[in-house]
């Protein structure tokens, strides 16, 4: 589940994203891939890690290997800790 109040900033001179969360008052710098991952999970549907890795791999032109899986897990965990993603109600 996504935190709805986020403010995203993008500039034409690069492909990074800056996001401000008014709830935490934190500011984060995301790579294009991290932003992509965030967009994938923000449709309020449940996702499996496997599905996400497969989609990411296709979009990034990479193989859906263990390394990508580990990075995906780590990034999701960071976003969770930062409050950029919220756990879905069970």
């Amino acid at each position: 589940m996504v935190a709805k109040q986020l403010i995203w900033t993008h500039y034409d001179d690069g492909d990074e994203w800056v996001v401000y969360d008014p709830f935490s008052a934190d500011i984060h710098l995301l790579t294009a891939s991290a932003r992509l991952l965030w967009t994938l999970v923000s449709d309020e549907q449940p996702h499996t890690i496997h599905d996400l890795v497969v989609t990411l791999a296709a979009e990034l032109g990479r193989s859906p290997d263990d390394e990508l899986t580990a990075v995906t897990r780590e990034t999701l965990s960071s976003m969770d800790r930062a409050g950029l993603l919220r756990p879905m109600p069970s």
Binding site: F23, S24, A25, D80, G83, P87
Partner: protein
């Protein structure tokens, strides 16, 4: 040359606390003094909430406008900050499987009660069942909180004589959580049932819970008149007033209040709460409650002494000795007498 007077205008603050409508009549200078006094007494949120009820005059000088903008921004940020911490606490406790209840300031904010408006909260106090204390500590540690570094003396003081574990501090955000399994120290003579507090707690959102209104008021009263530091006294009295006004319109509240005071053995704090809320802030309390609780008071000499000390301390007119006397009394209620002198002496040595 005589000393510059840079003292806060606490007298002005108490005057507007008793008569909030006077806020509209203050000069710009007085209003800014009131803001400063409120900020230092941790009552900025209260002041702004009551000032907004009136109009801001169009002749207001720009510097005062800017001061008020800054004050409002501060109050909003205080609330945001604590709401975020509560959110992170909720995240840490997701799936722990036991009830946890917010106490004091964090609870007022979470439940959107009047004392929670723009409130500056230092530590988040949480009540958890004693048998799940370790699980709670573990969950917090997994989410970045760790025990503050204490010297051996303080660590022992916390564990052996207080009802608190040492505070847990978040490694990045530096926010502080105090886990409690009881609302009064193990060493005190009174033992209000934690099970009863947890059982009657009220859900707010997600897994966040607060005490029921009667318990919330009794806890606030026990905190002000049974333990705690004097520096927070003004705000604690204002909190009590805010809670009583908010809950007092519900007739069921008062019967709950009287019943729970007996059930939790908190009749003495209940007596003081009713007595001083009325005398200091003219809080409306139902007359039958006043007469019922009056039976719970101490014998006269103690009562008159307590009256004088509380009035002096809260109005800031008292000597440091008076403030200390009330502080000693609070500690006396918490600790066996032979320990008292040792702890206070050590605390005073550390401060200098």
């Amino acid at each position: 040359m005589p000393r510059l007077d840079v003292a806060l205008d606490l007298r002005l603050l108490v005057r507007v606390l008793r008569n909030p409508q006077q806020l509209q009549d203050l000069s710009p200078r007085e209003f800014s003094r009131a803001i400063d006094a409120a900020e230092q007494s941790r009552l900025l949120g209260w002041l702004l909430a009551h000032a907004d009820a009136g109009q801001v005059s169009p002749e207001c000088p720009q510097w005062l406008n800017d001061r008020v903008t800054t004050a409002r921004a501060r109050a909003r940020e205080y609330e945001r900050s604590i709401r975020w911490e509560i959110d992170r606490l909720n995240r840490a406790f997701l799936g722990v499987g036991f009830r946890w209840v917010l106490l004091k300031g964090a609870a007022y904010v979470a439940a959107a009660l009047p004392p929670g408006r723009g409130r500056r909260v230092a530590d988040i106090d949480v009540l958890v069942p004693q048998e799940h204390l370790v699980k709670a500590e573990t969950a917090l540690r997994e989410h970045g909180w760790e025990f503050a570094e204490l010297d051996a003396y303080d660590a022992r003081y916390y564990r052996e004589w207080m009802h608190e574990l040492p505070p847990m501090v978040h490694s990045e955000r530096r926010s502080v959580i105090d886990l409690h399994h009881a609302i009064l120290p193990q060493s005190s003579r009174l033992h209000p049932s934690s099970a009863r507090l947890l059982e009657r707690s009220i859900p707010i959102s997600d897994d966040v819970r607060v005490l029921c209104p009667a318990h919330m008021v009794l806890h606030a009263a026990a905190h002000l008149f049974h333990d705690g530091e004097i520096a927070g006294a003004i705000r604690d009295v204002v909190d009590l007033d805010g809670l009583l006004r908010c809950f007092g319109n519900d007739p069921e509240f008062w019967s709950d209040f009287v019943r729970e005071a007996r059930a939790l053995q908190l009749t003495r704090p209940a007596y003081y709460a009713v007595r001083y809320a009325d005398r200091l802030l003219a809080t409306p309390v139902r007359s039958d409650v006043v007469s019922e609780t009056s039976a719970w008071g101490p014998v006269s000499p103690v009562r008159w002494l307590m009256d004088a000390l509380v009035e002096k301390t809260v109005h800031g007119r008292g000597t440091p000795a008076a403030a200390l006397a009330l502080y000693i009394r609070s500690h006396w209620l918490r600790m066996p007498p032979f320990l008292l002198l040792r702890h206070l002496l050590r605390k005073s040595v550390r401060r200098s």
